[in-house]
């Protein structure tokens, strides 16, 4: 059987982990198969969880979250016959498949939407853990905003520096209120479970928000402008379907692979005008065609757009 | 002829605490409007019996009749309803409450305080005029003297309309004059028709104030007699079961060189000056007795000399060598190394570790002595052997080094401490309340040991609140009051009256001369 390890935040975070969970569920429903799962409760449990699943014969073992990287680097060589899949992280081992996403590209598109939806010049971003991965979101978002409105101000805050930052909705809400006080009209939350607080605060205060990873439009209909979708579910589903033979090595999913994108459904249809959609779709084509190059923060640790 | 039913009648009361039978089949009756005394050795069961009457403990068996009616007393509330009030040996006051608050506690009228307080204040004024119990209703209790605190206790009972008043060792902490005032109040209450039970160890007081007296022994009530038909010596015999000689046998002192010299000693503790310039000296072969009401600086005097607390001023020398009384470079262990033994006032809280076995207690304070150690580790075998030897010579019963200290009776616990501190024949022995809570047999033994040590040419500083003990043992007597020495007397040239006045801080013409 395949198995999956969810990261801190848990499989019902309505975001990253939940997306992974949905992929696994879809596989289970379609094939009638069963899989094993572990929800991590602390950073220190990673290694034992991986070993336990490998010992029990689970294959492939999927790990959601970059925080699993260093533990996997140690465990993978001990179980050469098991295939491991890590999402959002890169582990250079022969039996590991590393799946990463071009979040900057998706973020660019929702950044454009934010700038178009905002009446004033100010939009904002709330990140989860302060790490390069999240800066990649922020930077892509800011580039999209500025592409629409060169005068725009992007306020960015990170929630924390540890895994706990994925699961701190109160803090997320406070940061959002602060940003609204500074004039923000659209807030993009790339913060896992913390984002729930961000979306809630935005809804309470009557501004727009942008969800992340899963489609979060339904959470506050009319308040969530869109969601930056990251198809973690597809990555999990693919791994589960292909089984232990799944191709190892590094795999990058961008706009072209439909690994990232933005969501439109009945909950936000009223918020997005035809022109907005047309502009974003054009940009999407241009990025896939290579006409627009969105700078990836993790390439050099810098961002061409200044954020506050 | 019909006699009025007795105010209190107890029938067949028994009570055990685990293996200890504290009261065994006790019957007793007290007539209305009388003062009834109860005497007995420590642990005889007096307090237990009264606590049962007050509903504090529940008797295992037996019945209580109040004014002839059977009255079960399951708790203090029931006792209060039955008109019983009790003044405990240790006051039951909330120290940081005011007098009024203490008086109304548990007897408030209604859920709001304001009316109760107003009413209590009025009643207190009345009561204090009626009985001469003067206390400021708004004073905070902890700032009152013990004598006044006791008045608050009595006011509390009067406020509750107690008809029956139980007083458990009320005079232990009072100066003689405070005790006199108390007795006048009791007489007064008696004339009002109230019934009073008085527990005391002082036979003099029994003779002075009670109408009838009961004697308790080992949990049983052995005798009840009319006070007018008995005598102190007869009572003592009834208590102990044999003739007792309360005199201490000793030869006149032959003082030698000065051992301890104390000059202008000052001690401050808890923000209060406890010792305010005390000077004295003790010679070889001499016992200096410190008399005084508890809490006038005696405790601090022992503790500062024993190295437990630091002095704030003054100088102390031992054989003319200075002692570091600032506590910076010395503690109780270094004092012991200098040849100062110390039998503390409180054996259970200070002198012994109650959970330790006897042998471990024998090393207590001397645990760094090389003879108890081998290398880095303690030599348990050596300590046990030493303990067995001491138990034998000091008649500790049972002579079992492996028994925890708490399982010895008070007297035997004291003997363990005495053996430890005196067996090394210290040059100076500090000894506080040597016979507190100790029965007559052990008192005799301990007194003999003290005299013997003196006769070996050692210096002894004796602190006791028992004037009889001070008078009996001391070669010289100093009286402490409010952190000062009020005067020094020779036992042969003074009497309890004069000492009592000094203890109360009164310096009269007759006492001034020698001071």
């Amino acid at each position: 059987d395949p198995a999956i390890i969810f990261d801190l935040g848990g499989k019902f975070d309505r975001s990253f982990n939940e997306s992974a969970f949905n992929g696994a569920q879809r596989w289970a429903e379609e094939t009638g198969g069963s899989y094993r799962e572990i929800e991590l409760q602390s950073d220190a449990q990673r290694e034992q969880s991986m070993r336990r699943l490998a010992e029990a014969g689970a294959n492939p073992v999927v790990m959601a979250g970059f925080l699993q990287e260093s533990a996997l680097a140690v465990v993978a060589p001990d179980y050469p016959d098991t295939t491991f899949v890590i999402i959002d992280g890169v582990v250079d081992q022969p039996n590991v498949r590393s799946v990463v996403f071009a979040e900057h590209e998706g973020s660019y598109l929702v950044g454009m939407l934010a700038a178009m939806a905002a009446e004033s010049d100010t939009v904002s971003f709330v990140g989860g853990m302060d790490i390069p991965l999240i800066s990649r979101f922020a930077c892509g978002y800011a580039q999209g905003v500025v592409a629409v409105n060169p005068d725009a101000i992007v306020i960015a805050n990170m929630t924390g520096t540890t895994g706990a930052a994925w699961n701190d909705p109160v803090r997320g809400g406070e940061l959002t209120r602060g940003q609204i006080g500074q004039g923000s009209e659209v807030v993009f939350a790339a913060a896992g479970g913390t984002g729930l607080g961000v979306l809630q605060a935005a809804a309470d205060e009557g501004i727009l928000s942008i969800g992340v990873d899963s489609n979060q439009n339904y959470l506050h209909p009319g308040s969530v402008l869109t969601s930056m979708i990251k198809r973690v579910d597809v990555a999990v589903y693919d791994a589960f379907t292909t089984g232990p033979e799944v191709e190892t090595g590094l795999h990058v999913f961008g706009l072209a692979e439909e690994g990232v994108g933005y969501a439109i459904d009945e909950f936000n249809a009223d918020l997005i005008t035809e022109e907005m959609q047309a502009a974003v779709d054009a940009a999407r084509e241009a990025i896939i065609a290579g006409e627009i190059v969105v700078h990836n923060f993790t390439d050099d640790g810098t961002c061409p757009v200044q954020m506050q | 002829m019909t006699t009025a039913a007795p105010a209190i009648e107890l029938k067949g009361i028994s009570k055990a605490f685990g293996p200890v039978q504290a009261n065994r089949d006790i019957s007793m009756s007290v007539a209305r409007g009388t003062i009834h005394g109860i005497v007995g050795e420590n642990g005889a069961g007096k307090s237990t019996l009264m606590s049962i009457l007050y509903g504090f403990y529940k008797a295992d068996r037996g019945e209580i009749f109040i004014n002839g009616k059977p009255t079960p007393i399951p708790d203090s509330q029931a006792a209060i309803r039955a008109g019983i009030g009790m003044v405990h040996q240790h006051f039951k006051l909330v120290e940081n409450f005011t007098v009024v608050e203490n008086v109304i506690l548990g007897a408030e009228d209604g859920a709001l305080l304001r009316p109760s307080i107003a009413k209590a204040r009025r009643l207190l004024t009345e009561l204090s005029q009626e009985y001469g119990l003067k206390v400021d209703p708004d004073a905070v209790v902890e700032e009152l003297s013990v004598g006044h605190q006791q008045r608050v206790e009595i006011l509390k009972q009067l406020y509750r309309h107690a008809d029956i008043l139980i007083l458990d060792e009320p005079t232990g902490v009072l100066t003689p004059s405070e005790a006199d005032q108390l007795f006048r109040i009791l007489e007064r209450l008696k004339t009002e028709g109230k019934t009073i039970i008085l527990i005391t160890h002082k036979l003099r007081e029994i003779m002075e104030i009670t109408d009838t007296v009961s004697v308790m022994r080992r949990g049983e009530m052995t005798n009840t007699v009319k006070t007018s038909q008995t005598s102190p010596s007869e009572l003592a015999e009834m208590m102990v079961g044999r003739k007792v000689l309360l005199q201490v046998d000793k030869t006149p002192a032959k003082p030698g060189d000065v051992v301890l010299r104390v000059e202008d000693l000052h001690v401050r503790r808890g923000g209060v000056d406890r010792i305010k310039g005390v000077s004295f000296q003790i010679r070889r072969g001499e016992i200096l007795g410190i008399a005084g009401v508890a809490g006038n600086g005696q405790t601090e005097l022992l503790e500062v000399l024993g190295g437990m607390i630091a002095a704030t001023g003054g100088a102390v020398t031992l054989f003319n060598e200075p002692i570091d009384i600032t506590g910076k470079h010395s503690n109780a262990q270094t004092r012991r190394a200098r040849g100062i033994g110390h039998v503390p006032e409180d054996r259970q809280d200070e002198g012994l570790i109650m959970a330790f076995e006897a042998w471990e207690n024998v090393a207590f304070g001397y645990h760094k002595d090389p003879k108890y150690n081998s290398g880095p580790l303690m030599n348990h075998a050596a300590i046990k052997a030493d303990c067995a030897d001491k138990m034998d010579r000091y008649d500790v019963r049972p002579p079992n080094p492996r028994l925890p200290a708490r399982n010895f009776s008070g007297g035997n616990q004291q003997k363990i401490v005495v053996a430890r501190e005196m067996d090394r024949a210290p040059d100076l022995l500090l000894i506080g309340q040597p016979t507190r809570g100790v029965d007559i047999g052990a008192i005799e033994f301990i007194h003999k040991q003290i005299i013997a040590l003196r006769d070996q040419g050692k210096a002894i500083l004796l602190v006791s609140v028992e004037l009889d003990e001070i008078m009996g043992l001391s070669d010289r007597i100093a009286v402490m009051f409010d952190g000062r020495i009020m005067g020094e007397r020779l036992p042969s040239e003074t009497d309890q009256n004069e000492l009592g006045l000094l203890m109360a801080g009164v310096v009269t013409d007759s006492t001034r001369g020698a001071a």
Partner: protein, 372 residues
Amino acid sequence: MDKMPKWADVILIPVISVVLALLVSGLVVAIIGESPIRAMQVMVRGAFGSAYGWGYTLYYATNFIFTGLAVAVAFHARLFNIGGEGQAAIGGLGVAIILLNVAWPHWTIALVAAICFSALFGAAWAAIPAYLQAKRGSHIVITTIMFNYIASALLVYVLVNVFRVEGSMSPETARFAEATNLPTASDFAGFLGFGTSAPLNFSFFIALLACVGVWLLIWRTRLGYEIRSFGHSDTAAVYAGINPVKITMITMLISGGLAGMMAINVVMGEAERLVLDFVEGAGFVGIAVALMGRSHPVGVVLAALLFGALYQGGAELQFEMPAISREMVVVIQALVILFTGALDNMVRMPMQAVFLGLRRRREAAAPRTPAE
């Protein structure tokens, strides 16, 4: 006279208490609709059913021996050290610092250095609460809890800002050099079936050594005598010339040092790097272990083994019976603390009555002592 023989107090009562705790735990499992029998089986098999299980059980037990001893030593001075969690975390920092910054030629020397540093750091973290307790009477229970939170913030700070490896996103240090890795169970006891995955490592022996050391300290040395005296009565301690400030400090330093040494097992022996949250509640488990073990090293080892098994069994439980959360272990731990620590009178009172009854019967049977 004592109401009960000593063996009843130190063995019978804890055993009854633990049994009660386990019964109530079973009840909790039943109430949430799972089979307590099956849960028990899963846990026992998970903890003891394989070399893999033993490897984890003993590994966890090693942690709990250290933290249990830490709490026990403090208990002897009647100090309630709830700060094992933070002291261990800071001990881990000590281990990381010394292993990352020095090129150790061999694990034996590295181990000695790591022991010193973990103990030193752990002790240092206990020093401030100890000082405040000794000098200012600040309640050590609350200060040590606060120091747990502060330690965790400090650890986050250093892991994020000081030790994080360039380019890595996880808050953890680089791996320690190969030469410092401790032998694991597969190295020294591979013949028993331990595989390379078992985290049990050489630290286990250090823990056992620490037990012997603590036993000697408490019951054989003058310092131990002073610690116990102070624990029973601080006024008596002063009378005996024992300095309360000194004893409080020394005891807490030893306690903190022992808690810190837990890091050898986890940081040096298992993770081979410093990760966030590596203590995982072991500091708190130490309280239960010390209470159950009646603060005696032998009792601590047995209780640590029990809790090691609970932890490993609990991990299996989560795996085999997903409806039962891993936190069930915390519940059991809580119940053990409750029954052995706070409700012990509930067990003791009836036991005393039983023993008293027995004694009365014996005395009644024996001939009456002649009248005095």
